[in-house]
Symmetry: C2
Subunit: 310 residues, 2 copies
DNA sequence: ATATCTGTGCACAATAGGTGCATGATCGAT
DNA sequence: ATCGATCATGCACCTATTGTGCACAGATAT
């Protein structure tokens, strides 16, 4: 119930340019520009100033955006409580998530909701974690399943979001089936220190996981190749180009000549998968139900694993 | 920046019928109906139920309305702080007030604002205190100068408003100039207990002031006539029909054969004139400036009086 | 300079949102 | 029971807000 133009302003504050705001909110740049102009007119405040070829928030604008955090959170909370008081559900529900891990959690969630609440319009958007947060702010989605980043530790206490840990997904090693270590059950990262590694591009979501895993054990791996998709990476490994890290949740269906090994030793890298919602909305019955479904799913996944992985 | 439909819902919660809501908000009944229907659709909540020939809030609706108090207050507060941070003014400013007293305070305020801030669109609405509160809720006005009612003591701590005492305006007695007491400077209410009194209709704003004044001294006056306008009451008194109470701020220009006397004794009735704003908005620079102007005006009025009246 | 990226103004189109009247439902009074 | 009064709502119609697409202007980097 907070005016859409204020939401737009918040998104702008996050990404800094009209164009990016338009892309994120789904409007055209002209519309965003007009919205912000209208917002200034209605409030009688100057919120933006020209800055080079772009625009920048004024002091009043920054103040408004920073203060709107609690306002939005309070609205979400109110909305959620009213929902609960009336025992009702919203008409639309937007989900966001990234990659295979999210797919394994989000897809079943969406399916369950679709069957139990046929009149609920469920929409799923695939987006990387950073974008998921943006989409939450832009109110395009209501719940996101993402991989918690080390670099995004500040996101933990962001006043705009509330996060719930779903599970820790360990990273495995994949090596060619003709590799000397292929018959092993487990390996340590140290044993693979001299191998040519295949990872994602620098700056990607998983590259930081990769480096974090090796810095933890104190070795510097040699990055031989880069791949974007898991499938590509697996194919590279299968072709004998090197070895790679693969999350346990990522399936290895199409790989005949690739072996997956568990990592042991002090460096047991894992990615933490969490659910994120707008602060305040966590009390909503639909959010609660969704989190429950996700938790059950996560527990089932954990239960199917050997005990040493927890 | 809170959605207009939520404001409408709040007004509805206050007055209970679509028609009254329409009258108060300035919309047509159809528009109010459509707005509330839309609100329910957007929120995915049922907020209203048919109840006889009218409609009634559901549990969710009541919850939403009650919780929106703090939400609105927080928004007003944020808006005010942003205004102050940016050293800026809103484009529109709505004032509300009642009767002569308000006129003597509001008119100068409006005039001052008009001259010092030419681009500010100032609108003044004359309305009785109860309606002023409604207009504040409906966001038709931003500041109201009203007479605090004894019966409305609960309004003191209403979470929707903040009130500032401007001045206490004593009530005088007006009697025909040929009355035995006409040559006196002051009288007590007891001395006039047996006179035929002229007052406003039962249930009106000032009737309760009237009764409160007499219950304070423990006498029961005889109400002979009723008048709505001060001028009418004065004319009645001038015609020798009885005596009446007149606020000090109400001018006595057209009355040749009427005398105004101060009231002494333990019962010194007065009406308290206060300024009311939506909670949170009091920090707004424009509100602050307006309150300052009103306070100065009030002090000037008090200064022009004999000391015994304070 | 030129190319490029920024935001904005304008004509136009879609649609949200308004009014006024007619209709249906309910209640109170005769 | 019946009638009128009172409410809310649906419908036809109209307005104006709001979005799009394109062209354009200012600023920057090469």
């Amino acid at each position: 119930m907070i005016d859409a133009r204020l939401i737009t302003l918040r998104v702008f504050a996050r990404c800094g340019t009209i164009g990016a705001t338009a892309e994120l909110t789904g409007y055209s740049p002209s519309a965003v520009s007009a919205q912000l102009r209208e917002l200034q007119r209605v409030l009688g405040m100057q919120l933006l100033t020209k800055d080079g070829r772009g625009v920048r928030l004024t002091a009043a604008g920054r103040y408004l955006v920073s203060g709107s955090d609690t306002l939005i959170a309070e609205w979400e909370s109110l909305r959620a409580a009213a929902m609960e008081a009336g025992d009702q559900m919203p008409a639309r529900f937007g989900l966001g998530g990234f990659s295979t891990a999210a797919a394994q959690l989000l897809a079943p969630l969406a399916a369950t909701l679709r069957s139990t609440r046929p009149q609920l319009e469920v929409q799923v958007l695939e987006a990387n974690p950073a974008r998921c947060f943006d989409l939450l702010v832009a109110e395009r989605i209501d719940l996101a399943v993402i991989v918690a980043m080390q670099s995004d530790t500040h996101a933990e206490d962001d006043p705009r979001f509330e996060q719930t840990v779903l599970l820790d997904d360990p990273l495995d090693v994949i090596i060619p089936s003709n590799h000397p270590l292929a018959s092993r059950e487990t390996v340590t990262l140290e044993e693979l220190a001299s191998e040519p590694w295949i990872t994602e591009a620098v700056g990607s979501t998983y590259h930081s996981l990769f480096t974090a895993a090796f810095t933890a054990v104190g070795v510097t791996p040699r990055i031989a190749h880069e791949a974007v998709e898991w499938e590509t990476q697996i194919a590279f490994v299968g072709a004998g180009l090197g070895v790679g890290l693969l999350p346990r949740l990522a399936p290895l269906r199409s790989a005949e000549n690739v072996v997956r090994l568990r990592i042991t030793g002090k460096g047991k890298p894992a990615r933490r998968i969490v659910a994120a919602v707008r602060r305040g909305s966590i009390a909503s019955p639909l959010i609660q139900e969704s989190l429950d479904i996700l938790q059950v799913r996560a527990k089932r996944i954990l239960a199917a694993r050997p005990e040493d992985d927890l």
